[in-house]
Symmetry: C2
Subunit: 468 residues, 2 copies
């Protein structure tokens, strides 16, 4: 039985939706469906209200006049057994339990209740998502649990055992222009688990890149098989957490997951061809790279930017991340010198272009003509700019826009980096540049090391596939 | 001869100050002195203007009626030889050459010009700072080159071969509440070099913590001796850059520095007792720790916060950074359960406190009474918050303020962390929390790993000193 229908329900009942003053969870699940213009019927379920968020409310899911495909459950755990029985009676197909307080508590009676819900569901042909999770974000269907997620769809499919991570990754990647086919937060995995979802995404035509945050599994053998098949078709990027003693204790009390030995996981993931990443930052970097960075021929990079210390740091970080900087040939330096005066600049690769008044477009074109490098990195370190008056800020912003334009016209693959920032002006600039890049679908990274490492791992993946 | 007078000149001439429309460098050096209410006389020097920034201008430094102690030079390199001769004639004590285009270009005639300037200066008893540097920030004397640096002074002394790094570190650390005794950007080190400055800071009564960004040295033996003496007196935190092939090429064309073999530097720094850090982020983390974090008895930490995934990640990052999380005893869990309901929370250390409506103050007090942990970390992951309406944002902000207040009343040392953020709301929250912490002189870190690593290295330093 395919999971496809969980992403395309004809109608959704939101059980526990409230018109009360503190209705934060209602905002999450009901108001977001309305905002995303979900096309099917939406039914708030709550015996205390006639109407919630402008929609007619029903006391019980069984009272809804039409069919209910999907149920989002926000009521406390003790009331869920009755709800599942009602759902069976109503002919519901999937139940997403946002509700927590089950196996993850480590308490026996609560774990037993979770098992009972699964039994009831199975008896009625219902699939359960969760409990203890955020559920589904599927922009094409108008389903979301965060009002600020993008309404437009893309080709990245992401599943997360942690609701937090589902939000962190989706928000962070979206801010850099990535768009998603489906995102699923699956929590305790009492029924639908990581392997079911990975198998689905491997076959899903809307998904070109798969990503997953996993705390544990109950069937390592099947997971290995599914991951191997998936990784042969598309890149699969994995975060596996809970490897340390404290992390494993955390995972157990978070989603009831058996985190397992980290070395075993490391070997399993390596054998399947999945790309294991450190954490969500690296996951986002790889999503950006797979989506926006054309495959370069090799790992040699030309680094351009402003600032001596920043250029030196960028060079070190490139090499640490797996890229190399070939030294600029004398002939090239001689060509550039009339454009970028030697005082206050560095023209050896790294290239410090001196200042924003110099003609970057002309110099970049000359460097683009140099055959040896395979790609460009533009490193920006806004916090080194000592001029804080608004006239200068505006000048810098305009200059950056013009350079980005010139960058887009180069032959070699290009990426934009804003160095790690620690204070206010840097953060402001980072946001502006990131947004400009996202709009143009240009790969943006928040540190040179992260850029170099992501590009390097992207090339590792294609080498492994035999693509070059 | 002590360098003390470079921080306390009676008068400063700013050579090349301009009243023209594009006078960014004048803003840097002249307008900032005015803004910082520098108490001595300020003399703009420029034959083209009668007045600059409201001050009478003179055509030549020799035309100034009173004595000139310190000169800031912003005119192009070819004009500097004449200026140095004029300065000798005038009896100037120190010249800071912001001007670049000397040895760092790798061009022989420009390197020779630099040597000539040093010869002229020595003949007249002048000390040179630079060339190719930002110079001096000494808030007690009202001297600064960035208008946004704090006006109030502190006890951290920082020297940087890179002007960018001097700005990056000063801004980043200031935003987290750190204040400085003296900051010096010393560039090409043609005369005053890293060792002179480190020797000065080692003896400086206003300086309790020393930090340095170094690209190279010309006298490793003396540097070793001075660093050993300095590190025996106060913590000395060092960034050494230019270690890779490309970085070394960069350092050479940046400040003309001989970066040298990284393994040699590693050994040298280790032997002296200096604390070598990766980059400026870790340097700022250690400044914050030395300034604000009381020395804990051991490395066991209690981690509190919101979010399952965020708690698991925090646990992993603590252990990776050198701290451990003891599991919470059953008796403590039983005590906390009436305050923090078990559904939606995790009470095993890491502690996920469920939500902001629970009574954190009471629960924190109970955890504070548990003898085993040596310190508290509060981990905030604002980007996991799915509620984006302003009423909820305000509630969160107020709740965080109350928790910070409760945190300040605990017995154990405490630190506040906002997890790495990747999107807009997270950055906004990070700024708010960072500012709150800076105001209260509470240690703040922008990732759990960075917090754990800095605290761990801080404890290493005190173990090495035999303090515990």
């Amino acid at each position: 039985m395919t999971l496809d229908h969980i992403f395309h329900p004809r109608s959704i009942a939101v059980v526990g939706a409230s018109a009360g003053p503190w209705n934060a969870v209602t905002q999450l699940f009901l108001d977001t469906l309305i905002k995303f213009e979900y096309k099917g019927e939406i039914y708030p379920i709550n015996p205390k209200f006639e109407e919630v968020s402008g929609l007619k409310a029903y006391p019980n899911v069984k009272d809804v006049p039409g069919p209910v495909d999907h149920v989002i459950c926000m009521i406390p755990a003790p009331a869920t057994r009755q709800l599942l029985e009602d759902c069976v009676a109503k002919g519901v197909k999937t139940v997403h339990l946002y509700t927590s307080g089950f196996a993850e508590t480590g308490e026996e009676d609560r774990a037993r209740l979770q098992d009972e819900l699964v039994s009831i569901a199975r008896s009625g042909g219902i699939r359960i998502l969760g409990p203890n999770c955020m559920g589904i974000y599927c922009p094409r269907s108008g389903i979301s649990y965060c009002a600020d997620f993008p309404k437009d769809a893309g080709t990245v499919g992401f599943i997360a055992q942690s609701g937090s991570y589902s939000i962190l990754v989706t928000r962070g990647a979206s801010a850099r222009g990535v768009r998603f086919s489906k995102v699923v937060s699956y929590g305790n995995a009492s029924d639908i688990n990581e392997t079911d979802l990975l198998e689905y995404l491997a076959h899903d035509r809307e998904t070109e890149v798969i990503a997953a945050y996993i705390e544990g599994t109950r069937d390592g053998k099947r997971l290995r098989k599914v991951l191997t098949e998936a990784a042969a078709k598309k890149p699969v990027i994995i975060i596996k957490k809970g490897g340390t003693a404290a992390g494993s204790r955390g995972a157990l009390s978070h989603t009831g997951a058996l985190a397992g030995n980290d070395a075993v996981w490391e070997a399993l993931l390596r054998q399947t061809g999945a790309i294991r990443v450190e954490d969500f930052e690296e996951m986002i970097d790889l999503m950006v790279t797979f989506q926006f960075f054309p495959l370069p021929r090799g790992r040699k990079v030309a680094v351009v930017g402003l600032g001596g210390g920043a250029s030196v740091r960028a060079s070190d970080e490139c090499e640490r991340g797996g890229l190399t900087l070939p030294p600029a040939p004398e002939a090239l330096v001689t060509e550039i010198e009339p454009i970028i005066p030697v005082a206050g600049s560095m023209l050896r690769n790294p290239f410090d272009m001196g200042n924003y008044r110099n003609d970057w477009a002309a110099a970049l074109k000359l460097i683009d003509g140099w055959a040896e490098p395979d790609m460009f990195l533009w490193q920006l370190a806004p916090e080194i700019e000592p001029f804080m008056k608004s006239i200068y800020r505006e000048f810098c912003r305009d200059a950056r826009g013009r350079i980005l334009e010139a960058f887009r016209g180069l032959q070699k693959p290009t990426a934009v980096v804003v160095h790690g920032v620690e204070a206010g002006y840097g953060l402001e600039t980072l946001q502006i540049v990131k947004t400009m890049c996202a709009e143009h679908k240009m790969p943006f990274y928040p540190s040179v090391y992260r850029a170099a490492r992501a590009i390097s791992r992207y090339m590792d993946y294609h080498s492994w596939r035999g693509d070059q």
